[in-house]
């Protein structure tokens, strides 16, 4: 080759403008707005203990959102997680209350049930790749909650040991255990998504499943892992939720999957797959959570909250499609 070769630039040019015109900064703006709003509503809001307690009002739902980010990044969806919450909680309660299994083991059973529910979703979807995630998780959504109903019918199961409620209500100083656990997991998920080969492959699958396969990525294996994780963390939510209420019924967790999806989508993770950053989802979790909390402080009736959350979701997704919103771009993959 006698011709001189073209040189290709490998360094990324940093542009302040591009840096700030990212979806996540927009979310930070919204987050600040929400907090300002809350401060106006309640003078006690800004005390550290107040804020930390505020997290307790929504954080147990947020555990579902963590693996949901993965599900959406690969371009799929899982609407069965709310039912998984119910089923794992019910089985945990029944193990302890009716079968006399020690609470510690019952908690482990809860986690196993959740994992199994997610695993079943994954197995069906990966063995029968012709099926759509929407319809399979719809069916398991009905099935799992149906099983919970079969077990507990319309009763509640209470009488947990007194230490059990500490899982949700316990604190170190004024920091709730749940918040610590959440932070740990959020950090792990975020790192896995953005800094590991597994995460990169998730983005690849979400952008182009076929090309990923041809590039040697084990697409089905990864899908199975993602759905199993979704189930596992649904059971984590179940533990915190049950601990909080001190009892359980087959209808708990209703609507949780939709809230989790709302949090993730607001966070900039596109339902088409392959786009979005984890930090966005975390900010979105806190936006929605604090918004709910603030509204709760002024005794906003539940129906009004429903309307606000619904409207927020729609506006958040519509915004980039309107002229102004096009300024704030969403990211494909990790840095690029």
């Amino acid at each position: 080759m006698a011709q001189p070769k073209r040189v290709i630039v490998a360094e990324k040019v940093f542009s302040w403008k591009k840096f700030f015109l990212q979806w996540e900064w927009f979310l930070v703006l919204v987050f600040i707005l929400v907090n300002v709003m809350n401060m106006i509503i309640s003078p006690y809001y800004l005390s550290s203990s107040g804020l930390l307690t505020a997290t307790s009002s929504f954080l147990e739902k947020a555990f579902i959102a963590l693996p949901m980010v993965f599900v959406l990044v690969i371009g799929e969806i899982d609407i069965s997680v709310g039912s998984t919450v119910a089923l794992s909680s019910v089985i945990m309660a029944v193990s302890y209350n009716k079968l006399g299994i020690p609470m510690g083991a019952a908690i482990i059973i809860c986690l196993l049930v959740g994992t199994l529910c997610g695993f079943i979703n994954g197995i069906i979807l990966t063995k029968f790749t012709e099926l759509f995630p929407m319809i399979v998780t719809l069916a398991t959504m009905i099935l799992y909650r149906g099983i919970a109903v079969m077990i507990l019918e319309d009763q509640a199961s209470k009488n947990f040991p007194s230490w059990f409620s500490n899982i949700f209500w316990g604190k170190i100083g004024s920091v709730p255990y749940m918040l610590l656990v959440f932070i740990v997991f959020a950090v792990i998920f975020g790192i896995v998504l953005h800094k590991t080969t597994f995460g990169r492959r998730l983005y690849a699958i979400g952008s182009n499943k076929t090309a990923s396969k041809y590039a040697g990525i084990e697409v089905q294996k990864i899908r199975l892992i993602v759905y199993t994780l979704a189930g596992l963390f649904a059971s984590v939510t179940a533990i915190f939720l049950t601990s909080r209420m001190g009892s359980t019924r087959p209808n708990i967790g209703e609507g949780y999957e939709l809230e989790a999806i709302s949090m993730v989508v607001l966070g900039g993770v596109s339902t088409a797959g392959g786009k979005g950053r984890f930090v966005g989802a975390v900010i979105a979790i806190f936006i929605i959570g604090f918004l709910r909390y603030g509204l709760g402080l002024i005794n906003t009736p539940a129906p009004t909250m429903l309307i606000i959350i619904g409207a927020l979701l729609i506006v958040a997704v519509m915004f980039p499609n309107l002229k102004l919103g096009n300024l704030f771009k969403r990211k494909t993959g990790t840095i690029e």
């Binding site: 290709i8 590991t196 492959r201 952008s207 590039a215 040697g216 494909t332 690029e336």
Partner: protein, 511 residues
């Protein structure tokens, strides 16, 4: 109104898109009842030009004259109403709907608001008979082959009384027999007074059908020539603007040991008892008509699908490949046929695309190593000489040829011994084609064993040391470089039930 000898005339057409001048003062004249070829490299402006004629785009400058009268189309419907129909390369059909519905979509026969299905089926049937179609108008469009779908598109054009039909790469996905059928249909249309414009990269299409050819290059109009007065070299020079000497620089390479051998591999319904072997430095051509099963063989070797029987040997040892990850670990690389959907992630930068297969190897226990990635990507992107500015240019921003180069770079990222290329120059312009052949030659020199699937006779004859011909799922011939001719290959590629007394048109053997 002035009598024009032309049915369609375009003068000084300019079309600008943000940042790009797609057409720059292009002229064109179409005689009634003429078949006129439109040629040029990828990116020359042919597609945009066609879209101006069919009303999809509105020209920024220039005028269009139809039957001597100036016209100004506001949209595709205006062009359709004026009798201009287009048959695009990627058939935009409704797979779930019937052939009849596809033909009449948009102009259904309606009486008092009710669709007249019986009348439409009857008329559709007439068209299909005229085209000697072997399927029924009630069939589901999605169940038809590409060639059959194309026939439906032609029927559609007929149903709209098209007087000017434009075909964009009509033979690209057809077998020799189907292409011949299409030629006959096109000639029949011409004989009935329809004027036809077609875009093609295939010289044989042009020589066979067209009387005149117009060449575009880099958005400019270069000239219109009589097909029988211009030579291939002149044509290429007009399209490319530079000399392409020695299109096929396959260097003489020392051929080494056998690397890959397949013995009697079969996959039910796709191919049976396929055997061949490739050595280091050797380029093996796998040719045949579209549908012969070549891609399926490659995909099976690469692990995308599993074989039903047979053995595969790498470096003499038997291997059982169940998925692409395994294949790559063992040293087999595959350049897929559809680079946009199978070969690349269009939204990603070219750097990320190149390193995707090997992020595992470059990582520290699953931690991404961005530095190593960038180094490797830069090295490979430069090695294949892809026309990009940074590693962060998105794959979708590159031309077809450059995209293909990125897929090649991706192949080189993994440590492979055998490279399987599936139609590496399909849809790639002449300039980039030459570059890819150079790369292939280099790879052979470096000791890779190469398998190339191709339907283009010239590159098979020019690049390959050994040629395997497949027909309907079986190997029908193995030829060596030098002894193979186009006629021999064609004969082996065609099914025995077809008459081999097909007129052998004088097709020049050139790119």
């Amino acid at each position: 109104m002035s009598e024009s000898e032309y049915v369609l005339e375009l003068n000084g057409i300019t079309k600008i898109f943000p940042g790009v001048k797609a057409l720059d003062k292009v002229h064109f004249q179409l005689k009634p009842g003429e078949i006129h070829a439109l040629m040029g490299e990828n990116g020359a402006g042919k597609s945009t030009f066609i879209k101006v004629i069919t009303g999809v785009h509105k020209a920024d400058e220039g005028e269009m004259i139809l039957d001597g009268k100036k016209v100004d189309f506001q949209g595709p419907r205006d062009a359709q109403a004026a009798g201009i129909a287009a048959i695009y390369q990627h058939i935009t059909a409704y797979p779930h709907l019937s052939v009849t519905e596809n033909i009449f979509m948009g102009h259904e026969k309606v009486k008092f608001g009710k669709i007249q299905w019986n009348a439409m089926h009857a008329e559709a049937n007439e068209y299909l008979q005229k085209l000697h179609a072997d399927f029924s108008e009630k069939d589901e469009m999605g169940a038809l082959s590409v060639a059959q779908q194309q026939m439906v598109e032609i029927a559609k054009a007929l149903s709209m009384n098209a007087r000017i039909i434009i075909m964009d790469e009509p033979t690209a996905a057809l077998t020799q027999t189907e292409s011949e059928q299409l030629y006959k249909i096109t000639e029949t249309l011409r004989d009935h007074g329809t004027s036809i414009i077609f875009i093609s990269h295939r010289f044989e299409d042009m020589f066979r059908l067209a009387t005149r050819v117009t060449i575009l290059r880099d958005s400019h109009y270069i000239g219109t020539y009589n097909v029988h007065e211009i030579t291939n070299d002149e044509l290429i020079r007009a399209m490319v603007g530079r000399e392409i000497s020695d299109l096929f620089p396959k260097p003489v390479v020392e051929i080494g040991e056998e690397v890959l051998r397949v013995e009697n591999i079969s996959r039910t319904g796709y191919f049976k008892n396929i055997s061949f072997s490739v050595k280091k430095g050797e380029i093996l051509g796998l040719t045949g008509l579209v549908g012969a099963g070549r891609t399926e063989v490659c995909e099976t070797i690469f692990g995308i699908e599993n074989k039903s029987s047979g053995k595969v040997y790498l470096d003499g040892k038997e291997v059982d490949i169940k998925n692409p990850t395994q294949a790559m670990k063992l040293g087999i690389g595959y350049l897929p046929e559809d680079r946009q959907h199978q070969g690349l992630i269009l939204d990603w930068g070219i750097g990320r695309n190149i390193t995707l297969p090997v992020i595992g190897e470059l990582s520290n226990h699953s931690w991404l190593n961005e530095k190593k990635e960038l180094e490797l990507a830069k090295k490979l992107a430069e090695e294949v000489d892809t026309k990009a500015v940074t590693l962060f240019d998105t794959a979708s921003s590159l031309s077809g040829g450059n995209q293909q180069k990125i897929v090649v770079a991706k192949l080189l990222a993994a440590e492979v011994k055998v490279i399987i290329l599936d139609e590496p120059t399909k849809g790639v312009d002449v300039g980039a084609k030459a570059a890819i052949y150079v790369i292939m030659g280099e790879l052979a020199k470096q000791g890779y064993a190469i398998v190339m699937v191709s339907s283009e006779m010239p590159e098979i004859l020019g690049m390959c040391d050994k040629i395997i011909v497949m027909c309907e799922g079986k190997v029908t011939g193995e030829l060596k470089r030098g002894e193979a001719t186009q006629e021999m290959i064609l004969e082996k590629a065609m099914a025995k039930s077809h008459h081999t007394t097909e007129k052998q048109s004088e097709v020049r053997i050139n790119g």
